[in-house]
Symmetry: C2
DNA sequence: ACCTGAACACCGTTCAAGT
DNA sequence: ACCTGAACACCGTTCAAGT
């Protein structure tokens, strides 16, 4: 089809192009099964065997874009919550980070699925079994920050709390997109129940009367 | 291959056999993508086109086994928690039901994935958008039972609480099998945090030690 | 009425060959 | 050194045909 490419010079550009095309297709199709090798290479303007010069198989390609997407997820939560050792309100920072996680999952459903719902065929996570744990480490440390500020249950282990909060966030992120027609409470309300009930954060604002809070200035 | 079947008389037996074979393969392979039409029909002893006499396509077949599996999940939680209007301790019943949900997910990973992680291509959930909501209705009603027994936050809507608890259960169920090497706290501890923190249940076995359970050395 | 053989358009992957 | 043409073994699905 498109024979326009096939440039000259040193390779490695193709590798980047393949990753970009895979990311773009994942965003468009929202389903890894439809992100097919033949669609990827066609978008780059190359034939299927060329892909195998850069990746041993499709799983390796997917793993490479997974690594990229993990980095952008961590960056999204980080930038929403601010630097870890900032001086501000640690509870507000934790809230903002969690909110950013849920927003990112909603806005990047294809990526979220491939990050957290696809069984890695080879259990080829990192040796320590914590692929993409940057976001989790952030969560645990922000919870610890709240504990130090006496805004969270001080008796519990921050990592244990983070595990339950992560599970709750993941459940909200996946189920709300899977069951769109289910009568979900507002996301903000569910997040608040998680953070007050599990972590022990003080309720947001003064009144938690179930009013759907739109977009609060979080800083 | 296996020509042994092809019996006589009225059909419809083949339909049941196909459903049984699909369920069995799903349990063995733990991954819907590997549950292939050709594997299903081979197990039954029939050729691929025969399947299309009973199901319009593969998605319809999967939907039919999904309906079956939803029923067995609801039966598992129901039988663990006891009848809804039983006289006993409603908090214990709620706990038992949640525990059964997590156990079932752990023991039936292939089924759980196909029930709760596969995007239904056609948004062909029930008209009310609540496919498989029997288990959810049960959960909400048991939480309401705890509220009436003054063992749960009486101010919140039982359905809202149930949504967050379900999200937490789903997150625990899926993430613990996806990230097997992650240093998870004991399932029992995470469930307890969910039920005490979100629903407002009294802590389990409150009297004796009062010490939060700490895990052993994580090697 | 119930089932099969043979084919179609796809998929991931491989290999010999082109420049 | 980098890429392609052609093929292989799979997949879901269809259709004419067998009994």
């Amino acid at each position: 089809m498109s024979r326009t490419r096939n440039p000259r010079g040193q390779g490695d550009q193709l590798r980047e192009d393949l990753l970009d095309a895979t990311e773009a297709l994942l965003a468009e199709l929202e389903d890894e099964r439809r992100v097919t090798i033949r669609a990827i290479v066609e978008r780059v303007g190359v034939t299927p065997p060329s892909l195998y010069l850069h990746f041993p198989d499709k799983a390796a390609l997917i793993r490479a874009v997974v690594a990229r997407r993990f980095a952008t997820l961590a960056a999204a939560t980080q930038s929403a919550a601010g630097p870890l050792e900032a001086a501000g309100d640690p509870a507000a920072a934790l809230r903002a980070g969690c909110r950013a996680y849920l927003d990112w999952a909603r806005d990047n459903p294809g990526s979220y699925r491939v990050l957290f719902e696809i069984q890695r065929d080879t259990e080829l996570e990192r040796p320590d079994g914590t692929t993409g744990s940057e976001a989790f480490d952030q969560l645990a440390r922000r919870i610890a920050g709240c504990q130090q500020a006496r805004m969270a249950d001080p008796a519990a282990d921050a990592g244990d709390l983070a595990a339950v909060v992560w599970a709750g966030l993941h459940g909200i992120a996946t189920l709300t997109v899977l069951r769109k027609r289910f009568p979900w409470p507002p996301i903000e309300q569910m997040l608040d129940r998680l953070l007050t009930g599990i972590v022990g954060l003080p309720p947001v604002g003064a009144a938690t009367t179930g009013e759907p809070i739109t977009e609060g200035p979080v800083s």
